[in-house]
């Protein structure tokens, strides 16, 4: 699953998710990817979020809506990402999750569980994309 967030110099933001879902799913099954607040979410007044993982579980928690609302309440991107993942782990300790959060000033961070998650970013002045490895909570 790809979830991607853009922050324009004008401070406008957008987000997207695209995926072919989980292998060997039951025909008709839809995961978290196309669900607003689950696969991704963004509000230019606060920030955005992208997520990946066990979609059948993650879509029950709307982790990206939760993370963006946490930014609105004053949490940092790292705190917001950690909180979103911990809410899932409290119910599903073995869940594979990856949540990356960006605030509207360009600060970004991620949290994960169940695997080694990574995310990529590129900002003004960078000649190439950088990768951040994220340890599981």
């Amino acid at each position: 699953t790809l979830s991607l967030i853009a922050l324009h110099p004008s401070s406008s933001m957008a987000a997207c998710t695209t995926t072919n879902g989980a292998s060997h799913k039951i025909p008709g099954r839809v995961g978290d990817g196309p669900i607003p607040g689950s696969g991704s979410y963004v509000d230019s007044t606060v920030g955005g979020c992208g997520a990946t993982g066990d979609g059948d579980i993650m879509m029950r928690f709307l982790p990206c809506y939760q993370a963006v609302e946490s930014l609105r309440r004053g949490l940092t991107p790292q705190q917001a990402a950690d909180d979103a993942v911990r809410r899932i782990l409290a119910r599903y300790p073995d869940a594979k999750t990856g949540v990356v959060v960006v605030d509207n000033r360009g600060e970004h961070a991620a949290a994960a569980s169940g695997w080694e998650f990574s995310y990529s970013y590129r900002s003004g002045g960078m000649e190439r994309t950088e990768v951040v490895r994220v340890k599981s909570l």
């Binding site: 879902g21 989980a22 995961g31 196309p34 960006v102």
Partner: protein
């Protein structure tokens, strides 16, 4: 200033999406166009075979696509789910955003919407995705998302029929069903994910 900024899940082949979206922003397009460009790059590149055509076949060996795009200025969103036989899922989602008052279209009707909007109909299967699916069937359909059915989904392929006694025991307690899920997470052999 760190702006413009692109951030996305994963690395490796997924950096093609980062670069495509960044270059789109650098060329003065808006944030919405930039994320669409990033998602389309990964769809075309079949990033990690978890994005785009030719990956994650279902039990019937069909690849279907899900996509979502959100405008952070207006909170307008467009999405498609279980999109069949159309490769550019994020493009169709953008059309849902731009040309409808809805948020999410699904299944065969989402495909029909895409065709009405000029998208091409084509198979999403590849030799690799079919090989994956045939291998899964040869391996007794493991891993498997079915539950409370006969024959045992953790050792046998279908067709399946429900075990009525199991259904009543798992649906009478909402608390137990969420704290001890009988889902992919409880199956140690399950390696698939979104």
């Amino acid at each position: 200033s760190p702006l413009p900024l692109i951030v996305n899940t994963w690395s490796g082949p997924f950096t093609s999406a980062t670069d495509a979206a960044f270059l789109s922003l650098a060329n003065s397009s808006n944030a919405l166009d930039a994320v669409q460009a990033g998602c389309q790059a990964c769809q075309n590149n079949q990033c990690d075979h978890t994005v785009g055509f030719g990956g994650s076949p279902d039990e019937s060996c069909e690849t279907t696509l899900d996509a979502l795009i959100i405008d952070g200025e207006t909170l307008n969103a467009g999405a498609v789910a279980n999109l069949r036989r159309v490769k550019d899922a994020i493009g169709v989602a953008r059309h849902v955003l731009d040309y409808t008052q809805h948020t999410l279209l699904a299944g065969e009707q989402a495909t029909q919407f895409a065709l009405e909007n000029g998208f091409e109909e084509e198979s999403l299967s590849t030799k690799d995705s079919l090989k994956t699916c045939y291998g899964w069937r040869k391996n007794h359909c493991q891993p498997n998302y079915r539950l409370n059915v006969h024959p045992d989904p953790f050792s046998s392929c279908g067709p399946y029929s429900p075990l009525l006694s199991s259904i009543s025991s798992t649906t009478t307690s909402a608390t137990s069903s969420i704290s001890q899920p009988h889902s992919s997470s409880s199956n140690s052999q399950q390696s698939s994910h979104d």
